[in-house]
């Protein structure tokens, strides 16, 4: 009981209760139905085909410093949860595919993560992102239940996924600033 109370207090103070924050209008709404090209050029990925799983959609870019910092945590968390019906999708935001590939090769790809591009920023517009990194959590019914704005880490990622797997709706957590593409 004490453990549950700690978690409840933690989430209450961290997620979506600060009125000064402009919370994402996407929370508790169906995720945008987007189909995006796989970075390796082997086809497309539709978010709809992942229904039934928890889907973590992370927007990133090779020019984003915080994206570089959170990369290892995304990889570790994706692999840790791979057998729990959780799929990570990383969307390259306003990035040259060659730069994206170079970035991922440098930092290491996760074998269980789906890497996609976003031509025309359709997904970015659909998810309403303000910059990168931003991470969205979609429950098995296709509803957006969580969001992390800014640099995430394994604690945040894992605990958010745990909450969604438990049927909860963690809401939005502002971890830090997001970065727009430099001119």
């Amino acid at each position: 009981m004490a453990a549950a109370l700690v978690v409840a207090v933690a989430f209450a103070t961290r997620f979506g209760t600060d009125p000064s924050l402009s919370g994402s209008p996407l929370l508790d709404q169906p995720a945008p139905d987007v189909t995006l090209p796989l970075l390796d050029g082997t086809g497309d990925l539709s978010l709809a085909e992942l229904e039934g799983q928890v889907v973590v959609v992370n927007f990133f870019a090779s020019w984003c410093l915080q994206c570089r910092f959170e990369h290892d945590d995304l990889v570790a968390t994706a692999e840790a949860f791979a057998d729990r019906g959780v799929t990570f999708v990383q969307v390259a935001y306003e990035d040259d595919p060659e730069d994206t590939i170079r970035f991922l090769n440098e930092l290491g790809l996760s074998p269980v993560t789906r890497y996609v591009t976003d031509p025309g920023s359709r997904a970015a517009i659909g998810f309403g992102i303000r910059g990168v990194p931003e991470t969205f959590f979609i429950d098995p019914a296709g509803v957006v239940r969580g969001k992390i704005q800014g640099e995430s880490d394994a604690v945040l990622l894992g605990s958010t996924i745990d909450a969604i797997l438990a049927g909860q709706a963690p809401g939005e957590y502002v971890a830090g600033e997001v970065q727009g593409r430099p001119d």
Binding site: V6, A80, A154, S159, I161
Partner: protein, 264 residues
């Protein structure tokens, strides 16, 4: 796997279930009060969990009756003697430029997170010097979870990692070695390696009842030395605060080894 071992464990489980039912009947008949009944049910359920864990953890190849017997005995003991390693304060330390505020102001309540989250945190922070001294505690905690779930291959990997981590203290290395010794004996039958591992554990914590008991079992059932085993079981019983079911198990083993009985 020896059919005899499985049958024996299943019989034990059936008996425990009958005992639980009998407690309910006796409580209804007013033979003892509800507090006593509750305590008895908890004791029996704890034993049942140990037997179920032992059944789940038996390897697929034939297990000699001696090691099968040890599975039951030591699972009861290790469950009863769960090493409490308190991950005090902030798991994710100060002085780092990572985004580590995380949950509840920097403290991570490990009881509230999944094995997967712990796996992810351990993996992603493995090379972070800011949390180097705290990571072994978390990794040991995860290993203990896997051990209690009878996921011995996962537990083994994390115990080894704790043992090999230069930042680990004796507080976690000693019990990790004891667990590894148990695993390599029960699952792989490696007597010498298991004894060596237990000795390393006892070098750090000479009075650790779990390490003493497991070594005693290995000496008795693996090396055929009930005399030395008996001295270790006596040392275990010198430990204060042992759960009743553990004392009962060790007393039985002491009686048998003192009489020079062979294991199994």
């Amino acid at each position: 796997m020896s059919e005899g071992v499985r049958v024996k464990l299943e019989e034990q489980g059936s008996q425990i279930r009958r005992d639980i039912a009998e407690v309910d009947d006796q409580a209804r008949a007013g033979e003892f009060d509800e507090t006593t009944a509750r305590r008895l049910r908890e004791t029996y359920r704890s034993e049942l969990e140990a037997v179920d864990a032992a059944l789940a953890g038996l390897p697929s190849e034939d297990v000699p009756p001696a090691r099968g017997r040890m599975v039951v005995g030591t699972v009861i003991l290790v469950v009863g003697l769960a090493v409490s390693v308190v991950v005090a304060g902030s798991m994710l330390g100060d002085g780092t430029n990572r985004n580590l505020e995380g949950v509840a102001g920097g403290e991570l309540d490990l009881d509230s997170v999944s094995n997967e989250t712990m796996e992810a945190v351990i993996e992603s922070y493995r090379d972070d010097p800011a949390v180097a001294t705290q990571l072994p505690l978390m990794e040991f905690r995860l290993a203990e979870r896997y051990f209690e779930e009878a996921a011995y291959d996962k537990a083994f990997g994390h115990y080894r990692s704790v043992i090999e981590n230069a930042e680990s203290t004796g507080e976690v290395v000693a019990p990790a070695l004891a667990r590894v010794g148990w695993i390599v004996w029960v699952l792989n039958g490696e007597t010498d390696l298991a004894l060596e591992t237990l000795d390393r554990s006892l070098d750090i914590e000479p009075a650790d009842p779990e390490a003493l008991y497991v070594k005693g079992q290995i000496l008795w059932c693996g090396a055929g030395d009930p005399v030395t085993a008996a001295t270790l079981f006596e040392q275990v019983l010198d430990t204060s605060g042992l759960p009743d079911e553990v004392v009962a198990q060790v007393e039985v083993d002491l009686e048998l080894t003192s009489a020079g009985e062979s294991c199994g």
